[in-house]
């Protein structure tokens, strides 16, 4: 199962790439994939902000299970920030 990964802004810099392709041997949730990436790439693990997930350009919950050819984006807080959070 092949997944396309996309990183933006602070996460792109920390991932060292804007896009990666990844083969998954078994069904995986978006949240589990993010945990794996953070284990592999310490600079991602050091990111202290909130991260949202999008699959095929729609926001999804971390429990969403990935399908072949999905595009997963890791989305740091957008430029207006979040009205309900305190910086």
């Amino acid at each position: 199962m092949r997944i396309r990964l996309r990183f933006f802004a602070a996460l792109r810099e920390r991932a060292g790439a804007s896009e990666l392709t990844r083969e998954l041997a078994r069904p995986t949730t978006v949240g589990a994939l993010w945990d794996d990436l953070r284990r592999e790439r310490p600079r991602l693990a050091e990111f202290r902000g909130a991260v949202a997930f999008a699959v095929n350009q729609e926001y999804v919950d971390s429990k969403m299970t990935l399908q072949d050819n999905d595009e997963v984006a890791f989305i740091p807080p957008v430029s207006g920030g979040c009205p309900r959070c305190h910086v």
């Binding site: 602070a10 909130a50 971390s62 807080p77 959070c85």
Partner: protein, 148 residues
């Protein structure tokens, strides 16, 4: 009209795009780059988008503005790349039958855009730079699709 562009934004194009014979009001909003933030002097701003998703979310905001506020038409254009101080980074135009709906829908569109549209801003200062968002500390947002 929903666009992510790398060149300066011309508001007149958005106004033309939302002009309708049944609209008695057009409200517009321009977001311009500011030379300071949180007490630091900003010398340049840089925007980055997830363009396919940004366009999809911008179209959705337009549909919601029409449904919720009875707007007639909505145009949103966001600029990416380096934007010099004082230039426009985002423009919105909304037409409606009357001014109250046009103002309300325009306000909704910019507020929602800043909440959900995947576009990021990097502020460059003398001797530093920072991506804007709560990633520099503070609690994660209370939003279902965010994980800390």
């Amino acid at each position: 009209m929903f666009e992510v562009v790398e060149h300066p934004i011309e508001l007149s194009r958005l106004i033309v795009a939302v002009s309708r014979p049944d609209a008695g009001a057009i409200a517009t909003f321009l977001g311009t780059t500011r030379d300071h933030n949180a007490g630091r002097q900003v010398i340049r701003l840089q925007y980055e988008a997830y363009p396919e998703m940004a366009l999809r979310e911008m179209r959705r905001i337009g549909e919601q503005a029409i449904e919720r506020f009875s707007a007639k038409a909505v145009a949103i254009v966001h600029r990416v790349g380096v934007v010099e101080i004082g230039e426009t980074s985002v423009a919105i135009a909304v037409s409606a039958a009357h001014r109250d709906a046009a103002f309300a829908a325009c306000r909704f569109a910019i507020d929602r855009l800043k909440e959900i549209v995947p576009i990021w801003k990097k502020e460059h200062y003398r001797g530093g730079e920072i991506w804007i968002g709560p990633q520099q500390g503070g609690p994660p947002p209370a939003r279902e699709h965010f994980a800390s």
